[in-house]
Amino acid sequence: MLQNRSSYPPQQSAVAPSLASSSEKSIPTSLTPSTLRTVATPRKVTIYDRNLNRRAPELSLAAFAFLFNEIVQYSQKNVKGIQEMETKLSEYGYHVGQRVLELTVIREIKSAKRETRVLGLLQFINTGIWKSIFGKPADALEKSKDQEDEYMIIDNDPIVNKYISVPREMSQLNCAAFQAGIVEAVMDGCQFPARVTAHSVPTDLFPLKTVFLVKLDPVVVERERYMR
């Protein structure tokens, strides 16, 4: 996905040479398509020329780690507390989630089906979405025992946290809030508005174990009841 983005914006680099080559002639008053066409450079390959179904090769985890590093540091600026920082991380994840949803559906679901039930959608997130982003399904999907509107997606070893040691004074922070944002975007995108938060539940075996708590909007609960 990251690779696809690198080809955008399609026209900017085509504009630059046209300005340079036209300096001998008269400077064009406006960059109409015809002035662009006179440039001898080969036509720029846009995102529309690429195949969505061709799977990108696996990306370097180190490259991702450094990028995510910057995201975390950036989200730390101008925030008053940990809550606010998690909200910011979640927002960044939201933008990713909106795109991942459509991309994963178009790549993986050949039957052109939409998810109309909560459980189906959660299972799709648990396996489909997780696999397409992280290369593995999430470790578990559970329904809350006490609350009818709460579900839990469990990841024993979230990739975004792989190299992150949160300092003691910020122990409530879980950078997987970014992942929670992705889940939230997918839920919202499919018309299942929900609030998704990430919580650390360290165990001896899985010190980074994270639970993504999905709290459904009352509208969704109502609709589910009606559809049943």
Binding site: Y8, P9, Y48, Q98, L101, L103, I106, R114, Q191
Partner: protein, 141 residues
């Protein structure tokens, strides 16, 4: 034959629209709507959104086929996973061809979405996108 295509965002906002005509049977690709019809197209299409909303929970397919009629015109609809609606106003029934058109349009839409300068529900202004949609129209309709 003339067509009117609209892409509608998640908040029932207009994302993209296009009027075009067929190239089949000696057509020149230009829409031949009357002046009245030209103005009515967006209204007809938007009014059928209510029907889409009613249908979307009763079925789990993306291609909802013909969902509405307005005199001689038919309205076909396609819903993406992210709840973006494609609506096409057309004159004759051709579910299969329209489905293929929608599937390819979905592909194009996702490509537009992959741009970091575009986000969900924004109008699509890319000239390349426009050109590709016209190519699809020429290919299928």
């Amino acid at each position: 034959m003339s067509f009117y295509l609209a892409i509608i965002g998640t908040k029932d906002n207009a994302v993209y629209d296009l009027e075009f005509g067929t190239y089949r049977q000696g057509g020149d690709g230009r829409p031949k709507f009357s002046a009245d019809m030209k103005q009515l197209c967006p209204f007809i299409v938007h009014s059928s959104l209510d029907i889409v909303e009613e249908m979307q929970w009763n079925t789990n397919v993306m291609h909802l086929k013909v969902i509405d009629k307005f005199y001689n015109y038919l309205i076909s609809s396609y819903m993406t996973a992210g709840n973006i609606k494609f609506l096409l106003l057309h004159e004759t029934r051709a579910d299969d061809v329209i489905r293929q058109f929608f599937v390819d349009l979905y592909d194009l839409y996702v490509k537009a979405l992959m741009s970091p300068f575009y986000s969900v529900d924004q109008p699509i202004t890319s000239a390349v996108f426009d050109q590709r949609v016209k190519m699809l129209a020429k290919k299928y309709l």
